[in-house]
C-alpha cells in the first residue's frame, strides 16, 4: 500500500511539474468545453427541451456538456497508450520486478492522471464556464452517488483499456485499436450526444453496452433525471460489467505475462 501511495504521489507530481503544460491543458479543455456550450445552447435554446418525460433546461444541458467534457478522459482509454509505451521501452519487465507489480502500478498511474487531470485541466473550465453560463448543482446525496458512479466508470473503462493494452505483450502494438473503442464509446456513452437524443434502436443498444455507465449514468443522476430505481439499475449494471471484465483482464494479463517471461520483457 505504501508503494502504491508513493507511486500515486510521484505520478501526480510529475504531471504537475510542467506548469506551462498544465496551463495549456486547462486552456485546451476550456476551448473544447466552451465550443460545446455554445453549440448545445444554440440547439436547445432558452426554453430547453423535453427528455424522457422530464424538462432539460438550457442550464442543465450546459452542465451536462461541461461535466461530459471534464470527464472525457474516461472515453480515451489512455491506459492502452501507457501499457504500449512501457512495453515498447522495455519498462514493463522492470515494472514486474517492482513491489507493487505491473497491474497495480499501471492502475495507480492511470488513477493519478485521471484525478490530477480532472483537477488541473477540467475543473477550471467547469468553474469558469459554469459561472458564465450557469450550472446545475444537485444536493450532496446526488453528488455522492454521481461521484461513486464516475469512480466505478473509471475502473470499468480502465479494465476494458487494460484488456486491449496488455495484448501488446503478444501483438507488439495495440494502440490503433483504441480509436475504434474511442469512437464506439463516444457514441454509446453519452459523451458525444446525450443518450436522451438517440433514436430508440440506438438508445436500446447503448443501454445494453457498458459505455452508458461512463457518462449517461452519472450525469443523469447529477441532473436529477434518474430516479432511485434507475440509480439501482446503474449500480447493478456497473457491478455486472465489472464482474465480467475483471476475469477477462486477469486472463489477458496471464496470457500476456507468459509472453514477457518467455521473451525476457
Amino acid at each position: 500500500m505504501t508503494s502504491l501511495l508513493a507511486l500515486f504521489r510521484i505520478e501526480a507530481a510529475a504531471y504537475l511539474a510542467d506548469r506551462k503544460l498544465a496551463l495549456l491543458g486547462a486552456a485546451h479543455k476550456l476551448l473544447l468545453a466552451g465550443s460545446q456550450v455554445f453549440l448545445w445552447s444554440a440547439l436547445v435554446g432558452a426554453e430547453g427541451t423535453i427528455v424522457d418525460g422530464g424538462h432539460l433546461s438550457r442550464i442543465d444541458i450546459v452542465t451536462y456538456v461541461l461535466l461530459a467534457t471534464a470527464l472525457v478522459s474516461l472515453a480515451e482509454f489512455s491506459v492502452v497508450d501507457t501499457i504500449n509505451d512501457r512495453v515498447l521501452r522495455g519498462q514493463a519487465a522492470v515494472d514486474v520486478l517492482r513491489p507493487p507489480g505491473f497491474p497495480s502500478a499501471v492502475l495507480v498511474r492511470e488513477f493519478a492522471r485521471f484525478v490530477v487531470g480532472f483537477a488541473v485541466h477540467a475543473l477550471p473550465a467547469v468553474v469558469v464556464l459554469g459561472a458564465l453560463f450557469g450550472f446545475t448543482a444537485p444536493g450532496p446525496g446526488r453528488v455522492a452517488v454521481a461521484v461513486l458512479l464516475v469512480l466505478g466508470g473509471w475502473l470499468l473503462a480502465t479494465l476494458i483499456g487494460w484488456c486491449v493494452g496488455i495484448a501488446a505483450l503478444r501483438l507488439l502494438d495495440t494502440t490503433q485499436v483504441k480509436y475504434a473503442f474511442q469512437g464506439v464509446t463516444a457514441l454509446f456513452s453519452g459523451a458525444l450526444v446525450p443518450l436522451w437524443f438517440l433514436p430508440d434502436a440506438l438508445r436500446g443498444l447503448a443501454e445494453v453496452l457498458p459505455f452508458h455507465l461512463l457518462f449517461h449514468a452519472p450525469l443523469s443522476v447529477w441532473l436529477g433525471l434518474a430516479g432511485w430505481a434507475e440509480i439501482g439499475g446503474y449500480f447493478a449494471g456497473l457491478a455486472l460489467w465489472l464482474c465480467l471484465t475483471t476475469p477477462v483482464a486477469v486472463i489477458t494479463w496471464r496470457w500476456s505475462r507468459a509472453a514477457m517471461v518467455v521473451h525476457g520483457g
Binding site: L21, H28, S35, A42, L43, Q176, A180, G183, V193
Partner: protein, 266 residues
C-alpha cells in the same frame, strides 16, 4: 520543385516500411474508420433531433465536418509530423543534421514526417463530402466538382499554413509542441460545426486571426445558402485566396525562424 523527386522517393520508402506490418496497418485504418463513422453518426443524430445546426441542415453539416477533415488530413500527411517534431529536433540538436543536408530542410522534414494513414483517412472524408454534395443537389449554384476542388485546395492551404506557422513558433519558444496540439486538436475542431453557433468575437477570430472558417463555413455559404449581401459573397468565394495568404504567411514565418535559428553547431 527540384526536391520533388526526393520527396516522392522518401514517401515510397516510408510507405513500404509502414506496410512491413500489414496487419497492423489494416487494423489502424479499420479502427480510424470506426472512429469517424461513429462521429458522423453522432452529428447526424443531432441534426435529426434538432433539424439544423447554426442554420445548416444534414447535408451542409456533413460538408462542414467532411471539409474540415479532408483538408486537415491532406495537409497533415506531410506537415503534421513536422509541426509535432520540430521542437524536439531543435532541443536535441538534430535540426543541425537536417540543415547540413543538400536537400531543403522543410522538404527533408516533410519526407521524414510522411504519415501514410492520413491520405487513407482523407479518402474517407472526401467520400463524405461527395455524398453530402449529392444530397445537396444545388441546381443554380456553381459546378459541385469545381467548387469542391477549389474549396479543398484552399482549405488544405489554410490548414497547412496554420500548421507551419505554429510549428515555426518552436524557433522562438520552448515547449511549442503543446501549443501546436492546442491549435490542431482544440481550435481546429471548433469548425466541426458552423461558426454561426458562436458569438461574434469568436466568429471574428476564426475569420481573421486563424482563418479556419474559410475551410468550410464560408465556401458552404456560397454554395448552399442564399447569399444576402456582397460581403458574404466575397467571403464565400475567397477561400482560395485566404489559403494562398495563409500558406505564404506560414512559409514566411518558417523562413524567418530558420534564419534566426542558432545552435552550437549551426
Amino acid at each position: 520543385m527540384r526536391d520533388l523527386p526526393f520527396l516522392i522517393a522518401q514517401t515510397s520508402l516510408a510507405l513500404q516500411a509502414r506496410l512491413q506490418n500489414r496487419f497492423n496497418f489494416v487494423v489502424e485504418q479499420v479502427s480510424n474508420l470506426v472512429f469517424y463513422v461513429c462521429a458522423t453518426i453522432g452529428l447526424a443524430i443531432i441534426v435529426a433531433r434538432f433539424g439544423e445546426i447554426g442554420g445548416f441542415a444534414l447535408a451542409e453539416m456533413m460538408l462542414v465536418y467532411g471539409l474540415n477533415l479532408v483538408t486537415y488530413f491532406i495537409a497533415g500527411t506531410y506537415l503534421w509530423g513536422v509541426a509535432r517534431t520540430l521542437e524536439g529536433l531543435i532541443r536535441s540538436g538534430e535540426l543541425d543534421l537536417v540543415l547540413a543536408r543538400p536537400i531543403g530542410p522543410l522538404t527533408l522534414l516533410m519526407a521524414r514526417s510522411f504519415e501514410p494513414s492520413m491520405p487513407v483517412k482523407a479518402v474517407g472524408a472526401f467520400a463524405l463530402c461527395v455524398y453530402a454534395l449529392l444530397l445537396l443537389d444545388e441546381g443554380n449554384g456553381p459546378s459541385p466538382a469545381i467548387w469542391l476542388s477549389v474549396t479543398i485546395v484552399g482549405g488544405t492551404l489554410i490548414q497547412g499554413g496554420v500548421m507551419l506557422a505554429f510549428a515555426s513558433i518552436a524557433f522562438w519558444v520552448a515547449g511549442s509542441r503543446d501549443l501546436v496540439e492546442l491549435m490542431i486538436y482544440g481550435v481546429r475542431r471548433t469548425v466541426d460545426v458552423p461558426i454561426s453557433v458562436y458569438p461574434s468575437p469568436v466568429q471574428l477570430v476564426l475569420t481573421v486571426a486563424i482563418p479556419y472558417a474559410f475551410v468550410n463555413y464560408y465556401p458552404i455559404l456560397g454554395l448552399a445558402v442564399s447569399i444576402e449581401n456582397g460581403a458574404t459573397t466575397v467571403l464565400a468565394s475567397s477561400a482560395l485566396i485566404v489559403g494562398l495568404v495563409s500558406a505564404a504567411a506560414g512559409t514566411a514565418l518558417w523562413r524567418l525562424g530558420l534564419r534566426r535559428y542558432r545552435t552550437v553547431g549551426a
